[in-house]
């Protein structure tokens, strides 16, 4: 599959947005979907639909196999050791909530500490805040440096004898910083601390290798990976999934149910209570096929080229201030323009068909630290081109014209 022609695989680009070609620069929020993924959902519902894991009829067995095929495909894509280390959730948010809730229930008590970073998305802060409220744990923040980066040392500084978990992002959705997860995990493990990684922004853009990273938990958002909404993945080492209590109770996750007791099912069923997002899981196999056909190295080269080009173009534009200049950066161009609020920028860009995001991007802690109430963010996907970034720049110039800058 040639990356130059990849836009053709995404039917949304056939549509005009108010008479403009769509310049989609909001993939960190959610990616567009290739036709193969959309078709797979249609085919499943029209030709193959059944609930999974329960009935013994033909359709149920076939659907169960398709569902489990995706689990195996995900296992291979992220190089997990065991297919039962893959748990489907309704999103990365639920994946993190699952860990915070079950780990908190079993292992955390008043006075215990966990470490997160100032870069975290609210979904890797709020679930831990619940434990702060309910159990009296303490949350320590590893601080960013002046480049919007988190170093091994800034995490190390927060470690105490009471630290019970380190939960941090792999790739910041605002500064684009790529964190040294492998090194942080090595350090944490040397002190007996497990590590949870929010992989929402990294999974669509980086090579995934769970065995190499060696972290304990890794949360993935499928809709940011050219997959359907309503689906996330929790990767967790098998020892944790065996050890932690179930998250939600219901059908499918039990072994035996009696009036006086209940025993729980084996992995992976233990964490997949109720009817799951079956069509989405099955269609996500096509997203992985799609990514495999492009090839992760080609994807990384393409997006690095775009990122460098985008930074170059925006740096030349005098009014634009880029946010964050980390050592290793991925897929995100956050910026401000003096005297023009990010919301006004986003509205004006939209008029040219340029879709970006404005706001705090669910990172209020980070924006407070940077002294900003909001920022504008252009984020990249595999379908973007240098031309898209030129259009972004032209449209920014149009903003400046409207605001007489």
């Amino acid at each position: 599959m040639k990356i130059e022609n990849i836009k053709k695989e995404f039917p949304i680009f056939n549509n005009k947005i108010e008479n403009n070609d769509l310049v989609y620069l909001d993939s960190a929020n959610s990616s567009q979907k290739p036709l193969v993924v959309v078709d797979r959902i249609y085919d499943f519902y029209t030709k193959e639909f059944s609930n999974i894991g329960r009935s013994v009829h033909y359709l149920a067995v076939a659907a169960t196999n398709l569902y489990e095929n995706t689990r195996t495909a995900v296992q291979k894509y992220i190089n997990a050791k065991d297919k039962n280390e893959i748990v489907f959730t309704k999103g990365a948010t639920e994946a993190i909530n699952l860990v915070a809730s079950t780990f908190g229930q079993k292992y955390l008590k008043e006075g215990d500490e966990i470490i997160i970073t100032e870069l975290e998305h609210h979904s890797n802060y709020v679930p831990w805040h619940y434990l702060r409220k309910n159990k009296g744990i303490k949350i320590n923040f590893a601080e960013i440096d002046e480049h919007g980066d988190i170093s091994l040392e800034s995490v190390e500084k927060q470690i105490t004898s009471k630290t019970k978990m380190i939960a941090l992002t792999h790739l910041s959705n605002v500064t684009g910083a790529i964190l040294p997860i492998k090194e942080i995990t090595e350090l944490a493990h040397s002190k007996g601390i497990p590590v949870l990684v929010d992989g929402c922004q990294s999974a669509p853009h980086m090579k995934m290798d769970m065995q190499d990273l060696n972290c304990d938990f890794y949360a993935i958002s499928c809709h940011k990976m050219y997959g359907p909404t309503g689906l996330g993945i929790l990767y967790a080492k098998k020892k944790w999934l065996d050890d932690l209590p179930p998250y939600q109770g219901g059908g499918g996750m039990i072994n035996e149910v009696k009036k006086n007791d209940i025993s729980y099912g084996e992995l992976p069923n233990k964490f997949e209570a109720g009817t799951m997002a079956t069509a989405q899981v099955i269609a996500f196999n096509e997203s992985i096929n799609f990514l495999n056909k492009i090839g992760i190295d080609n994807l990384i080269n393409h997006e690095n080229d775009l990122l460098n080009y985008g930074e170059e173009v925006l740096r030349k534009n005098n009014s634009v201030k880029l946010i964050g200049n980390p050592k290793k950066k991925g897929a995100v161009l956050s910026f401000t323009i003096d005297g023009i609020h990010p919301h006004d920028i986003a509205t004006i860009l939209d008029e040219d068909g340029v879709a970006i995001r404005a706001g705090h991007h669910c990172c209020q802690i980070l924006h407070d630290k940077l002294g900003l109430t909001a920022s504008a963010r252009a984020s990249l996907g595999v379908y973007n081109t240098r031309d898209d970034l030129d259009k972004l720049n032209e449209s920014i110039n149009n903003c400046k014209k409207i605001f007489n800058k």
Partner: protein, 153 residues
């Protein structure tokens, strides 16, 4: 959609140089407004005299051109109005922002109405309506002595 209608000169002017910006001494009512979706914030200060007339009004805040301009224009025209009149103007303004083509009240002069009508461009931008109404909800809350901060998510 029409950007020129949204970003009229008067909005750009008030957005860039908001009137009545900053806290003043001896206010006797205040309220905060917050749009959690975008982070826009406004803190409104109000002094009602013994006859419940708006003696002074100002605001502090951070936000886009639309929300700053709206707070600026609103505070300008509320001075001297009675509490009852202020509430009436708030209602008519919110009517106009949501659905009506006009501001149906004789409490405002024609040029004041024209200024407010310049904010009507947000009708075509549903995601931006909250920017225009944030300070108005805050004023409403201050007048009602409603202690809870308002949000416009």
């Amino acid at each position: 959609m029409n950007l020129k209608e949204l970003y009229q000169e008067i909005i750009l002017d008030h957005g860039k140089n908001p009137r009545n910006l900053g806290k003043f001494e001896n206010f006797n009512k205040d309220a905060k407004g917050h749009n959690p979706l975008c982070g826009d914030k406004v803190h409104l200060f109000l002094k009602l005299d013994e006859n419940k007339n708006v003696n002074d009004i100002s605001f502090e805040g951070e936000g886009c051109a639309i929300s700053m301009a709206s707070a600026s224009i609103m505070t300008d025209l509320m001075k001297g109005k009675s509490e009852k009149e202020a509430k009436e103007i708030i209602d008519r303004f919110l009517d106009m922002i949501k659905e009506k083509d006009d501001i149906n009240t004789n409490l405002l002069k024609e040029d004041e109405k024209t200024k407010l009508m310049s904010l009507g461009g947000v009708k075509n931008y549903p995601m931006r309506v909250k920017c225009a109404t944030l300070s108005w909800h805050a004023l409403s809350s201050a007048l009602d002595d409603f202690q809870k901060d308002v949000t416009t998510e």
